[in-house]
Symmetry: C2
DNA sequence: ATTGAAACGGAGAATGTCTCCGATTATATC
DNA sequence: GATATAATCGGAGACATTCTCCGTTTCAAT
């Protein structure tokens, strides 16, 4: 089922070999791994690689597919959680894990959105949609702040993923970065304009 | 005194021409602008550029110097603020502005820390130190959460800068990203590690 | 004006992306 | 099994970019 539309066996085999090599190379060298090198280690010519995957993004997108299955499983786990805030946080953690799959992944991911031609763009939009679902639920429960939007939250996750590769060098941890995202670095409450509109929850200290 | 140690007039002049060209190129094409193209538009050969600035980071670092003056001025403004939380937030905003000076700046910046050879590394460490000063003050006042660390906060700012170029494409704003950083996306309070930690918790059987 | 050293600049090596097209090979058909 | 044909392969090579080497030029001290 990896490539249903491909007729010839050699093409299907080569496609698989390329994907395997790419998976290894991206994991080792990050998303900027040399494509010709990937072709070489897959035992095919560069032309074969580029026929199967016209751009680096196409290849990357395919390689990410199995990671997406994991991510969606984690989404389902999160959906089963009782608290919407807890669920949102679990989803954000899962999203961070996905975006940190390969070194440098946030860059092509964020570029994808601008260029609609990229196969990553649809994935990108899907993730924003899912994020929005968790966010809406959490906002309805009062567990998430009203002024937060799904795109902004997604971008925050991308930004966190961008730096999470390097936390060790800086003597900190991914957990702390995520905690800052979730709760902020300040202790006070945000000036929340939509707060007074919806609810009468003016119960603060 | 842009180049005090340089003896010959032509060398000093060329250095200035290269810096001007680089400033323009980085502003227009981002930090990945072609160095040979910068040399060309400065009217010098590639060899001349690389003699003055052995790596892209060296060139970038020099170009950033005038931006640093602006940043330090903003730090002083922030220092004059009455509230330490307010000051910290102002500093984080200023930091975001600095890191967003050129498209793609966060990448070399974050790479600099790993590789101690980069001239950006010292800038990087300086910024972490300054961030730490604002943070400590805010924590002493109770305006910032205790578990936040200076490196983590700096990395958060870098992550935010990474995505701030793209906020428009995603239909959101830099302000919202910064607000999420400051106050979090959740409404609740963070688990505070200063209290006794309950561990070995078997959540499900 | 002479001269030694500093600086210049461009050819080119190394690396990486991506394309073109003649050679190869799988598969349907007989 | 042999043949035909169309899909697929693969690598030479065009192009871009980084960075170096070294013969030539230019400055400035005398």
């Amino acid at each position: 089922m990896p490539s249903p539309a491909i007729k010839r066996a050699d093409a299907r085999r080569n496609r698989g070999l390329i994907l395997d090599a790419a998976k290894t190379a991206f994991a080792r060298d990050g998303v900027d791994a040399s494509l010709d090198e990937i072709a070489r280690s897959a035992g095919v010519g560069p032309g074969t690689l580029y026929r199967h995957f016209p751009t680096r993004e196409h290849l990357l997108c395919e390689v990410l597919h199995e990671r997406q299955a994991v991510l969606l499983a984690r989404r389902d786990e999160a959906l089963a959680m009782p608290g919407a805030g807890e669920a949102l946080r679990a989803w954000m953690t899962a999203l961070g894990g996905y975006l940190g799959a390969f070194n440098g992944l946030p860059q092509p991911f964020i570029d994808a959105f601008e260029a609609q031609t990229s196969p990553l763009a649809v994935t990108c939009r899907t993730l924003i949609t899912i994020t929005g679902e968790f966010l809406s639920r959490a906002q309805a429960e009062g567990a998430a702040r009203q002024s937060v939007s799904a795109p902004a939250l997604f971008l925050s996750a991308v930004g966190a993923a961008f730096v999470e590769d390097k936390v060790a060098d800086y003597g900190t941890t991914p957990e702390l970065i995520e905690e800052i995202q979730a709760f902020g670095y300040l202790t006070g409450k945000a000036p929340d304009p939509s707060r007074s509109i919806h609810k009468a929850g003016a119960s603060h200290d």
